[in-house]
Amino acid sequence: MLEPSASLLACHTGNKVNSGFNNTIAVAMSGGVDSSTVAAMLKDEGYNLVGLTLQLWNQRRLAGHHGMPEHVQGRCCSIDDVYDARRVAETLGIPYYVVNEQERFERDVVRPFVSEYLAGRTPIPCSLCNNHLKFDQLLVRARQIGADRIATGHYARNDYDPVRDRWILSRPADTSKDQTYFLFGLTQEQLSRTLFPLGNYCKPEVRDIAAQHGLALAAKPDSQEICFIPGGDYKQFIDAYLEEQGETIPDTAGELVSTSGEIVGHHAGIHNFTIGQRKGLGVSSPNPLYVLQIDHDSHRVTVGSGGEATSKTVRTRDLNWISIPELTGKMRVRVKIRHRHEPAWATLRMSGSDKAEAIFDEPQRAVTPGQAAVFYEGDEVVGGGWIV
């Protein structure tokens, strides 16, 4: 019923881009069902595989610090996940290694994550990780072990288009699993060396394939949360991390103000807020109030009703283009401004060096600095940037 080979070979054979690459692929294995199934599928294809797990964070590191429990049950790089990945590799008969990327992860993902929150923005660690660890460093690791390409369990499609002479990232068959939002930063060089074998499959099919290969983790639950913050309490994480580092949270306590400038309350620090946040504002009001704006100079947090929390424009910086070499003039796109956001129609144009702005047809709620804005044309990712 399933033909794993069709999808993979279609996009990675018969064109000039493939010609220079060898048959060895490094599979990024997290111990979850998706990446394990990727390994099984590619093994069937006859590729020479090496399994790699990036050890990114030590879950026990902050145990006991500032409100963190003594025994942290987390998913990221947990010993259990590494055991699962190792067992899959052993079942498939492929070499497998865990490589230590903890220093790089802390420097490129955890530190910026904490700094962004302290500055009143709402970062996406997954995109940082994809840009710096999953693709950049993983490709280096892959080439060090003799693999020209990598494969991951992301739900996305990646095909070479000979007409445009570009690698095109597009939404997967299983749109409920779409991870293209987190992948907007991939360069053409990275895309040319990356396989997303799950792009044409739906999650239940993936579980079936895993079961057919006798992989014991076929029924393992999906991970949802930020991997290094078990339970998802990022405030507690930031407190514990800064305590461990011997640093104190900068005092950013300030006023809560209404849209008319009236002081409606006080808050303990801007890192407790994210644009669009409704809970935990500490203000009572007949209508639900949302965080509209966070000013990191005055530490003032503006709150208002839902209708006021919309923006007509999203401004972005640090752009990456995928389906086009550069943006000239105006382009009609749909823009996604957070992971669970339904992309909204907008007109996109450059607004400066490495800056672009999109004007929405309909104002959008909670345009949040620090998040990514990703531009789509149909299912294709045109590109994206970081919201300022």
Binding site: T53, V82, Y97, V99, N100, V140, Q144, I145
Partner: protein, 389 residues
């Protein structure tokens, strides 16, 4: 996949069981299955086998049979020595280059409120006996310093430390896991009260070990149960394992007497000299110090040791980087860090440790592969680009 010739150069991690050792063990796994504590004949046979092994170990170490306690390995021996002696109010002296079995046990004591001094080492990876003397306090109960370091192979001045302990009338434990069978280990010369030995580092099976405990040393057991091992280690004896350890001890004693370790040192020295000659930007960590004959710890500038370990493994050569953390990922070596190596050099270092089964052919083949692997990684290494501070 083509069948790859495998070259094992990681003896300090473990050594293969010798065929003679397996043969000695076989009857005790099959027909002679008795419990060494039983009254009946099968039990008595097992008891006799255990005691013969004890004699072999006592001869290898130059101690009394009654001072040999069989354990499950080096880690248990180290833990038994440390937790068995120390009570609240005591002070312990150890070094910062100990194996984790000692280091983490000592840290555990410290967490429980025991005073622990972790002696530093200089760049030569040697504990300075004068530092030991200076660290002594009125409540010092135990000094634990290893005989040879597992990562660099460097031999510690334990006879001098033994004298200091004797003069101060405190207990001296040495983790001799990486020394036994590689250099002569004479307990009377060392003057230690406790000494740890691991079976699988001397071609005996994994899961076997010894703690030597000098007669008269009051030691609280780790486990409670039967009266095995003179009430020092409860639990039915691993008869086959102990027999294997006894046989391995006999073979080790014989090898030492025949000077086989001199050949091993010559092989290691040739390997080391060739690598240094063929590969630019390399050097020996702890150069010029007395070392066990099988070990060399080399740094390769401008590459990550972890990547080289993997690259060499994929070419069939088994070596080791720093120490492995729980997931199996390599961590920067605490030993090299304690020696004051800059982090990038600690990360760029690999341990090659030969077994006495390695041949000149192994060395020649490895020397075909290593320079190529190093230059390939250096071409790709991001280290040059400065991404790894």
């Amino acid at each position: 996949m083509t069948v790859m010739r495998r070259i094992y150069m990681d003896a300090n991690a473990t050594t293969p069981l010798l065929p003679e050792v397996l043969e000695a063990m076989r009857p005790w796994l099959l027909e002679n299955f008795g419990n060494a504590s039983s009254i009946h004949q099968p039990g008595q046979q097992a008891r006799a086998a255990v005691e013969r092994a004890r004699t072999s170990v006592a001869r290898l170490l130059n101690c009394r049979e009654s001072e040999v306690v069989f354990t499950s390995g080096g880690t248990e021996s180290d833990n038994l020595a440390i937790f068995g002696l120390i009570q609240s109010g005591d002070h312990v002296i150890t070094s910062s280059i100990e194996h984790h079995a000692v280091l983490h046990a000592a840290e555990r004591l410290r967490d429980r409120g025991i005073e622990v001094t972790f002696l530093p080492v200089s760049s030569d990876c040697r504990v300075d006996p004068d530092e030991v003397r200076r660290a002594l306090r009125s409540n010092t109960k135990l000094i634990s310093v290893m005989m040879a370091n597992n990562e660099t192979g460097i031999i510690q001045p334990i006879e001098e430390i033994g004298k200091i302990a004797q003069e101060a009338d405190i207990w001296f434990h040495t983790d001799a896991v990486q020394a036994v069978s590689k250099i002569p280990v004479d307990i009377q010369a060392i003057g230690c009260d406790l000494l740890s030995l691991s079976g699988h580092k001397i071609h005996a099976p994994q899961g076997t070990g010894v703690l030597y405990v000098r007669r008269g040393t009051k030691l609280e057991p780790l486990f409670f149960g039967g009266t095995h091992e003179r009430q020092r280690r409860a639990g039915t004896e691993n008869v086959a394992g102990i027999v294997g350890l006894g046989k391995a001890a006999e073979i080790a004693a014989q090898s030492l007497a025949e000077g086989k370790v001199v050949q091993l040192a010559a092989l290691r020295d040739r390997f080391e000299a060739e690598v240094l000659a063929c590969v630019e930007g390399t050097g020996v960590n702890g150069a010029g110090q007395p070392r066990v004959p099988n070990t060399t710890n080399l740094y390769f500038n401008n590459l990550e040791g972890e990547a080289l370990v993997i690259a060499l493994d994929l070419k069939g050569i088994a070596v080791s980087g720093g120490s492995a953390c729980a997931s199996g990922a390599a961590e920067p070596s605490h030993v090299l860090t304690a020696m004051g190596l800059p982090p990038e050099r600690a990360r760029a270092s690999l341990r090659f440790s030969l077994t006495k089964l390695n041949t000149q052919q192994d060395i020649d083949d490895a020397l075909q592969i290593i320079p190529q692997a190093v230059s390939r990684l250096r071409e790709l290494a991001p280290v040059n680009a400065g991404t790894l501070g």
